[in-house]
Amino acid sequence: MRRLLDIVLLMLAGLAIWHALHLAAPFALTSPVETVTKAWSMLNSAAFWPHALETGKAFLIALLLAILGGLAIGLGLGLNRTGAQVAEPILVSIYSLPKVTLYPVILLVFGLGLPAKIAFGTIHGIIPIALFAMNAVRNLANVHFKTARVLRLSRSQTLLTVVMPGALPEIVSGLRIGFSLTLLGVLIGEMFASQRGLGFLIMNAIGLHDVPAIMATILLLAIVAVSASALLLWLDHRLHHRAA
């Protein structure tokens, strides 16, 4: 109950700050009430949904690719000490590279449209997922691998019943970061050289100086991202708590 009260107070404080900022710069920020009204009318307009679906589709495919690719790379490298030693600095440098500089290359390879957004989202999400999965496996106690051998498990049994569950809490932490970065990648992809999607809506609204539309789109995206992130964080805490 106390926790709920804290959350409500925090949200009220956030809204108050938002409103204060709106009063200070009404040309850049709409008020909370105005934004929610605009968001509601957007949700009820037929023109909004194709864009939302485009973003949703690009994001889900990009996330799926990032997870599958990231886990394959991370688990594979985690089980191979030399491979991990070679790959880690490479992955870390790619991770720290501002990937937006690669977008022209992605556009040249994939052309304008959905595939480019997916690819751009995937390269954002795949590296953290791979790095977390790799370190999760490397940090798994050696005695677990010995136990697997004493219990005469096959390689695939070891991977599925010891390595994967043992590394899961860290893998979920990686997924949480991968989730946010993939969404970031897809939206940036939509903001340039794109005719569809929520990122395009924002850029379009900037061109028209339609501040309520910008704010409403941001609000809707924030609600989706925060809810998903909270869900993953809850899962993350649960898994880590059990393993403590």
Binding site: T147, R149, L151, R242
Partner: protein, 283 residues
Amino acid sequence: MSAALLAIDMPAHADTVPGVHAEMRGVTRVYAGLGGQSGVHALASTDLTLRRGEFYSVIGPSGCGKSTLLDVLAGLSRPTGGTISFEGRPVDGQVPDGVGVVFQEDASFSWLTVADNITFGLRRAGAEPAEVARRLDYALRLMGLADFAKSYPAQLSGGMRQRVCIARTLVLQPRLILLDEPFGALDAQTRLIMGDELLKVWRETGATVMLITHALDEAAMLSDRIGIMSARPGRIIKEVTTGWPSARDSRVATDPGFGRITADLWSVLREESLKAIGQGNLR
């Protein structure tokens, strides 16, 4: 339910020499050095014979290669030279069927309940659900874990987690149980209790037990025979027979013979420990 439900059946393979359950002949192990450093000579030419059904302990100064000895005997690591056999068959880089190992580190799986931890190996081996339940029930009661079947290891003390690992090994009905300082991380009283439980397990299952320990009193109290290892590179330099009856527990420590045995062990071990300390532990 029969008290000795987990007692082992007839051996899978006959021993080549009657009574000899596992054997090491001239086993050496050298760990390769990295980047031009000379390798570590962990085991010198080591001979060891485990008789079927005996409780054998290995003590030695720290860093003498006790764990290496267990690893090569278990098939977890390949020897550099020499031969190892279990029930008349060679052991080479694979854990043979019928060998169970309990480690010093906590090897319980944090993501499984106590019950799922214990039955983990059984289920992977494809045992019948009814049989799994029967052996689980027995192991839970033998190890005093019945009230914790649904707990996760994180909710248990170190001693309880080690019990889970022993139970996980027991349900597979190993004919040879190797324990690598299993009580090393526990407090003194828990160690004594766990030692008694280990004796109970040993008697009920009829398995051959080899215990690696650095504790003199533990070895003197629990074992039929004790092998003392030299400083690194380790090999067994002396064997001591205790002569305890099989129905024994930690109270043998009050027996006059106990003092004589520990004195015997210490006279050899002291010298080796001094060598070990002077030899490079400070490096």
